[in-house]
């Protein structure tokens, strides 16, 4: 099927690229927009590695058609840091060793960032609920939960976050 010109609002920028109408948002991000930070572990919606934020909510980009995401604000892992300053969750992942192989990390980061955007006092259960769609094979999730808690602490208003 011939490609179509599509417009995406991604990480605060508006980009126009040609995408096959049969392609997923994951394929458009990785192959047409060069945003390879978003990963794939199954392309069936099982693993969560491809999670991105669409209008602030976590979406499995391997199950979303690119054409449907045109009017939305998309945030990928590349859009979490401001200039060269890391999002507190990125900093916490680095400090707590929550990224081992790092392949599931972008998905966890955007899922976690979506949680922290509206809740900087999440309980363990709330953290687990927010991250339940993301599989990690390296960490046993322990360090990931710790990193979310550390970032939450730093993002609370009283911490100047």
């Amino acid at each position: 099927m011939p490609k179509e010109l599509m417009t995406f609002h991604v990480n605060g920028e508006t980009r126009q690229v040609a995408v096959s109408p049969t392609h997923t948002l994951l394929e458009a991000l990785r192959e047409e927009l060069d945003l390879t930070g978003t990963k794939h572990g199954c392309e069936l919606g099982h693993c969560g590695a491809c999670t991105v934020l669409v209008d602030g909510a976590p979406v499995l980009s391997c199950l979303a058609l690119a054409v449907e995401a045109q009017d939305a604000e998309i945030t990928t892992v590349e859009g979490l840091a401001r200039d060269n300053t890391l999002h507190p969750l990125q900093q916490a992942f680095a400090e707590r060793g929550a990224a081992q192989c790092g392949y599931c990390t972008p998905g966890f980061l955007v899922s976690g960032a979506a949680l922290l955007a509206h809740n900087t006092r999440p309980s363990r259960e709330e953290i687990k609920a927010a991250l339940a769609g993301n599989l990690c094979r390296c960490t046993g999730y322990t360090k990931i939960i710790e990193a979310v808690e550390l970032a939450a602490e730093r993002m609370r208003p009283e911490a100047g976050g």
Partner: protein, 772 residues
């Protein structure tokens, strides 16, 4: 020490948390083609006809590669070269590569796969240990000497007859460990490129660039110097990316033929077919003990369901026997192992390689023995634990050993003494211990060269470069390299620029397997950086007019230990040293000492050091659904020294998680040769909800030969988890499930059997205990 022992963030953390890290599938080159692989739909079938004419003619197809293009056999072990990149006359498992299509894009390649015509003549498929043994006439490989036996091992140490004669209690049990797979989050991928000079570059997600380099060059028939293997960041391995795969060979051949780059990325389903995972193992285990519990003799028989090819299986079968002796005093030991070919994806090494299954069996059996003798299972293990700096009956040299400290830690942390007998029915605590190699004592191909080499250079600006052939698969080996070099030179890890996993630019390191990198690369890095430090100290001592022996290097200064005001900067010392000696560069290398006995197979199991681990598991079994919930895991691991405590914790936690999955959820199972569940939804990886709370603790025994005393942490902590959970299940329900995974249906069956015959166990008591 300024850097060693600190929980510094991994040096690659920042590229990984920003999405900047480029994994193999993230690479893209101009004019890049795409490859897809056609795989066998039959578990065992002759290939009567293979016609790629229509696929080749399909618009956009650039090439089609079949077995005829790459007919040379390869195999990771020199003596078991039984595989070709693509099947030749017959396919031996569902998912075996048959052909590869290379096209201008992935869709075209995929469409053209359907145009390849293959006529198969199905053959009877053998898909279990029992079937492989029962049908020696149905050969999976014509070359096997006897039936479908790929390898048979028989070893005996000490006086078995006297050992069992001295026993007061002999237990004889059968255990079965189901196969599991690694399921790294990254699917295997590679990119190959070649220019008109004929030099090929292969970027591939591998744990072992050196072995991939050797095997791919051999099959392609090109000199090693014409192939450069580069490891991009690897999205997890756990043993599943330790050898070359069809896509590596096909990509290189395409690049060589067409002078343009190509990428192969496997689907998740294909990753299940690549496999090389945990062998299903049936184990017959007989142990004799005195009434005080001391072991008099052990006889272990293992039957390994190897799948269709050898892979690392030759080592695996030996590993199922070799490491059983390194935890307890065992005066007599007999081991019979057998690996069988079956029509399933090949099994290979998975975290704990071959030692995980018998460790599970042994620890469960010792739990039964402890109960029969009325001993506390934790105290019992302390009592019979091996001594540090001793030798096992099968000739393994044990150095530092923190086994007793590990048991102490998990006993205290879990409240074992107070809580064990007081938990409600349906809840239980179980304990198990284990040991693992810190690096294989022998390379895959035997040779006298180093197992790891490191080059360190210092530039005039005070920058340091460290080069090593190691492959960081997420465990943090790049960070360890920077850490060791920074410690030795007195700079910050961020001052060290690391280049690893490049077979043309970095000295050989054998790879990220057998938990060898920290120990071997660490020692090599220490040696290389130490040589440069000596040059810096020489220059500094001249400048400061003080003796070199008094100098220390820390915080980018070289100073007099007794008079810290006398100091020069690291940069100034480097410039003075360069003026005196020329460009600053030094090499270091590590080779394990000569270890082991003089028998065939003595090369497997030897290691410069062994790690030790203890685990207590707490479980709850639902009385109505038999659902097993693992509530908590306490794990204490003797890692020698924690060079980076957060990374060590991460390895312990990750190992515990993976062991938990194998104990309770995961199984690689087949129906009529077809993988039943080749997806991440159905192959049950533990989610964040499933995973128990894990308490990771380190024990530091400061090994004499490890870098700063360090031993491994990446694999060993997995091994005690599974039997600890199994023993906790027994404590909870007073019924045994002697196979993995421990699923609700098995728990229900075990409870029914236990109700029918309360004392029905397979033990037979000899002599004194029997008459008690």
């Amino acid at each position: 020490m300024r850097v060693i022992g600190q929980s510094i963030p991994k040096i690659d953390s920042y590229t990984k948390v920003t999405g900047a890290a480029k994994y193999a599938d993230d690479l893209s080159l101009p004019r890049m083609a795409y490859g897809r692989i056609l795989r066998s739909p039959h578990p065992h079938a002759l290939i009567r006809r293979l016609d790629v004419t229509r696929a080749r003619a399909y618009p956009g197809v650039l090439d089609v590669i079949t077995g005829a293009d790459l007919p040379h056999t390869y195999g990771i072990m020199p003596t078991t070269q039984d595989e070709t990149p693509f099947a030749l006359e017959k396919a031996r498992y569902v998912g075996e590569p048959i052909a590869a299509v290379c096209a201008v894009d992935e869709e075209t390649a995929e469409e053209a796969l359907a145009l390849i015509e293959v006529e198969y003549e199905p053959l009877p498929a053998l898909t279990s240990i029992e079937e492989a043994l029962a049908h020696p006439e149905q050969r999976i490989h014509e070359e096997t000497a006897r039936g479908n036996i790929m390898k048979e091992v028989h070893l005996e140490f000490g006086d078995m007859e006297a050992g069992f004669a001295a026993a007061d209690l002999i237990r004889d049990d059968i255990y079965f460990f189901e196969g599991t797979t690694h399921a790294p989050m990254e699917e295997h991928a590679c990119v190959a490129d070649c220019h008109a000079d004929g030099k090929i570059t292969l970027w591939t997600s591998t744990q072992t660039p050196h072995y991939v380099h050797r095997e791919v060059a051999k099959v392609l028939g090109i000199p090693l110097s014409r192939l450069r293997v580069i490891v991009p960041p690897v999205g997890g391995g756990f043993g599943g990316k330790c050898e070359p795969f069809a896509h590596d060979f096909a990509a290189c051949l395409f690049a060589l033929r067409h002078g343009r780059p190509i990428k192969f990325t496997l689907s998740r389903e294909e990753v299940f077919y690549c496999h090389r995972g945990r062998h299903p193992v049936k184990m017959l285990l007989k142990t004799g003990v005195r009434s005080d519990g001391s072991i008099t003799a052990v006889h272990l028989q293992t039957f390994l369901d190897g799948g269709a090819y050898a892979s690392y299986g030759l080592a695996t079968v030996y590993y199922t026997g070799a490491l059983l002796t390194v935890t307890y005093k065992v005066p007599a030991y007999k081991f019979d192992g057998m690996r069988l070919y079956t029509n399933k994806p090949p099994c290979g090494p998975k975290r704990g390689h071959g030692s995980t299954q018998p460790r599970y069996a042994f620890e469960c059996q010792l739990d039964k023995i402890a109960e029969q003798l009325g001993l506390d299972p934790a105290e019992y293990r302390q009592r019979i634990a091996i001594e540090p700096y001793s030798e096992t009956v099968n000739g393994l040299r044990v150095t530092s050993c923190g086994l007793r400290e590990c048991v102490d830690k998990v006993v205290v942390a879990s409240g074992w003494q107070e809580r064990r007998q007081r938990l409600p029915v349906g809840s239980g605590l179980g304990i198990a211990i284990s040991s693992y190699v810190t690096g294989a004592g022998k390379a895959i191909y035997w040779n006298d060269m180093p197992h790891s080499g490191v080059i360190v250079t210092i530039d005039r600006g005070g920058g340091v470069a460290a080069l090593c052939g190691s492959s960081d698969i997420g465990q943090g080996s790049d960070t360890l390299l920077a850490t060791v070099v920074a410690e030795e030179l007195g700079v910050e890890p961020l001052d060290v620029h690391v280049l690893t996993g490049d077979t043309s630019l970095t000295p050989v390191d054998l790879g990220s397997y057998s938990s060898r990198v920290t120990f071997m690369m660490g020692n090599a890095a220490r040696e290389a950086a130490g040589k440069l430090r000596a040059l810096l100290f020489e220059a500094a001592s001249a400048s400061l007019e003080t003796r070199a022996e008094r100098l220390i290097a820390a915080d980018r200064w070289i100073s007099d230990a007794d008079d810290p005001a006398r100091r020069i900067s690291f940069v100034e010392a480097a410039q003075r040293a360069e003026a005196a000696h020329g460009t600053l560069s030094a090499v270091g290398s590590y080779k394990p000492p000569r270890l082991g006995g003089k028998f065939k197979g003595a090369g497997v199991g030897v290691s410069p050091a062994y790690s030790y681990t203890a685990c207590v598991a707490e479980v709850r079994v639902d009385p109505e659904t038999y659902d097993l919930k693992v509530e908590r895991l306490w794990v204490a691991h003797d890692c020698g020294r924690a060079l980076n405590p957060v990374l060590v914790e991460g390895q312990i936690e990750g190992s515990a998680y993976m062991g938990f999955g194998e104990a309770v959820l995961e199984e690689q199972v087949f129906r009529k040769g077809l993988h039943k569940i080749p997806s991440l939804l159905e192959y049950k990886l533990p989610t964040i909800y499933d995973t128990p709370e894990i308490t990771a603790m380190s024990v530091e025994t400061i090994d004499r030969e490890g870098p700063y005393g360090a031993k491994e942490a990446g694999e060993g902590p997995l091994n005690p988890i599974i039997p600890a959970i199994a023993n906790a299940v027994y404590a909870a329900i007073h019924a045994r499930v002697d196979s993995t995974p421990i699923t609700p249906d098995k728990i229900q069956r075990a409870l029914r059997e236990a109700a029918r015959a309360p004392s029905a166990t397979s033990e037979h008591r000899a002599g004194k205990v029997a008459s008690r």
